[in-house]
Amino acid sequence: MSSPVATQPSPPTPTTEVERPKKSLLSTLLTRPEIGSFAAAIAIFIFFTVIAEPFRTLPALSTVLYASSSIGIVAVGVALLMIGGEFDLSAGVSVVTGALTASMISYQLNANLWVGVLVSLVVMLAIGFVNGYLVVRTGIPSFLITLSTFFMLTGINLGVTKLVTGTVATQNVADMDGFASARAVFASEFALGGVTVRITVLWWIFFVALATWILLRTRLGNWIFAVGGNAASARAVGVPVNKVKIGLFMGVAFMCWFYGMHILFSFNTVQSGQGVGNEFLYIIAAVVGGCLLTGGYGSAIGAAVGAFIFGMTTQGIVFAGWDPNWFKFFLGAMLLLAVILNLYVKNYALNRRS
């Protein structure tokens, strides 16, 4: 993507604004990447509210939000990475890598669980760094680099777990020191007006807000857009392209680590074969939310709405009592509709402006 800067809805830059006629609020809204996904989310929400009776209840909303956060947390990191013009196919399994690492380090060393949590964070950031470093040093597309990482981590998850524990799942760590406090941070839930709220939902909102602030209000955000839009031009004007890209991969790794901790502390044990395939869900959430596959365009809020659409669809189909054999078909159809709607709204906005 190397369109002229004029069509880029980039955040306000410190350069002097060219005199332009005042835009209406509607035009401003329509140029936001996430607007299409908002429309799709509202449509899908109304659809399931009408069609599925249990979907209308507050406990159902709580379950939908939780299902959304389980995709949404990592999708925030993936969205930033995609805006920066790169892919990460290893995000699904590295969630499990993070959880396995924390669990096994603590269990084998008889250490406080927080030791495992921190060691896991270091390991995960290292994986993210290696992904990013290989991409910027070799110039090989990140699709291929992270595909290799995906396979390697899948093998490591199984191989190391079998080697260390003798089985294919980790031991239960619920009775170890630090479990209660770690669970409070990563996997607690509390009642709010008779509805159970899971803490991941709050973390998810927090991460989305943080990423949005970075994208729209900081120099780093400008760099991310620039790197994804046109890396050569960005480098020419002094943006540290390589550092930004490596940082974005580490950002995804951090999010994977966080969600991996949630898996560990909400379920006490980790199955080593899981997580395969989830990387596409994160990418889909980001794309439905308006991120372009080519980089340089997108938003964190959009990725959150994309994850919410996914959560509504997965749970809504069950609430509606449809035959799950068709589940993937419905899911695909919903996603296709969302993406088409995105494109339509975007084109409409561009035509209005011209």
Binding site: T57, T167, S266, V318, K328
Partner: protein, 331 residues
């Protein structure tokens, strides 16, 4: 443009003609008997209950189709509104159990393959007063998580029984083909085989890709001619293993866990030794029927212990009837 349109019309017409002309005079759907109705026994009680069934099914597996067939037949017989859902990954399945609680179902049937992850969600349902039945997996843990009953096989026991059969057959070396790495129940089966027949080696294959399964088993047989028996953990993989055996020109015999139509026919023809059947249809049927009994009559089953639906052996002695049942999607 118009010529292109004409061409396209002609092409479609030709394709239709070929399709019609290619109608087979035998086999295919025309051979199928009329649909197999549900079992006898109409609805006894008046009230309709809603029962949710949440499994760890990998979509598109014949085994799970039998579990569903049993569950649906029981639901029909007892006028139960069955809500079936499945999540192959533990967090997903736990969320679906929560989904069933939100929907305020009258009963819950759940597979506890990933017991530590899904168990707490099942317990939450039991704490809400929803009767919970575990089936297919979770035999040792179901009571911890508030389930009233369990219907299923004991994987380790089934493995040991299979190992004994192989030993009786004079096996020298056995390979146990695991189609999904990291699957606890499958590992338990192979461990059971190894417990009663120590010279057993596990072979991991990519179960989602049958051609690669075929080549992996074939390569293993060529590499190690001392292998006398192959035991697969699912019927499709046993049939693939038969092909690998002929590819490799090996004399190895093949046996399997679980059953499908083709495996039953292969046993009938004598190419497959035996199948260790855990009777998935019974698991699905009993899970729903027992919940219905509990809701309408306060019953429980198993005398406080698990109800075992297997291992039940299918071999040359009893396969004749079972082929018919398998064709009805019930064995």
């Amino acid at each position: 443009m118009s010529t292109r349109k004409t061409m396209r019309t002609l092409a479609v017409a030709a394709a239709l003609g070929i399709a019609l002309a290619a109608c087979s005079s035998q086999g295919g759907a025309q051979q199928e008997q009329g649909g197999a109705g549900g079992p006898a026994g109409g609805n006894v009680g008046g009230e309709q209950f809603t029962i949710a069934m949440v499994t760890h099914e990998q979509p598109g597996d014949t085994f799970w189709d039998r579990i569903r067939a049993g569950a649906e037949d029981a639901a029909r017989a007892h006028n139960v509104d069955l809500k079936y859902s499945n999540g192959a990954q533990a967090p997903e399945q736990a969320t679906l159990v929560q989904n069933a609680i939100d929907s305020q179902v009258d009963g819950l049937a759940v597979t506890l393959a990933q017991v530590e992850q899904v168990g707490p969600a099942a317990k939450a349902a039991a704490d809400r007063g929803i009767p919970v039945v575990a089936f297919n997996a979770g035999k040792d843990d179901y009571q911890r998580f508030g389930a009233k009953m369990y219907f299923g096989s004991d994987e380790s026991l089934a493995g040991q029984a299979a190992g004994q059969r192989l030993a009786q057959d004079g096996a020298q070396k056995v390979i146990c083909v695991v189609q999904e790495q990291g699957h606890v129940a499958l590992e338990a089966r192979c461990a059971g085989v190894a417990a009663s027949f120590p010279n057993t080696e596990n072979l991991y294959v990519q179960g989602t890709d049958l051609p690669s399964v075929r080549s992996t088993i074939g390569a293993k047989l060529q590499e190690d001619p001392s292998i006398t028996h192959v035991i697969a953990l699912g019927a499709p993989f046993a049939l693939t293993a038969l092909e690998s055996v002929s590819d490799a020109g090996s004399q190895a015999k093949v046996a399997t866990f679980d059953l499908n139509v083709d495996a039953a026919k292969a046993i009938q023809e004598g190419t497959l030794m035996f199948a260790v059947d855990q009777q998935p249809y019974v698991q699905g049927y009993m899970a729903v029927a027992s919940l219905w009994l509990n809701l309408t009559n306060g019953n429980d089953m198993g005398g406080g212990g698990p109800v075992l639906t297997g291992p039940s052996f299918v071999d040359s002695t009893n396969v004749e009837q079972i082929v018919t049942y398998a064709q009805n999607n019930k064995r």
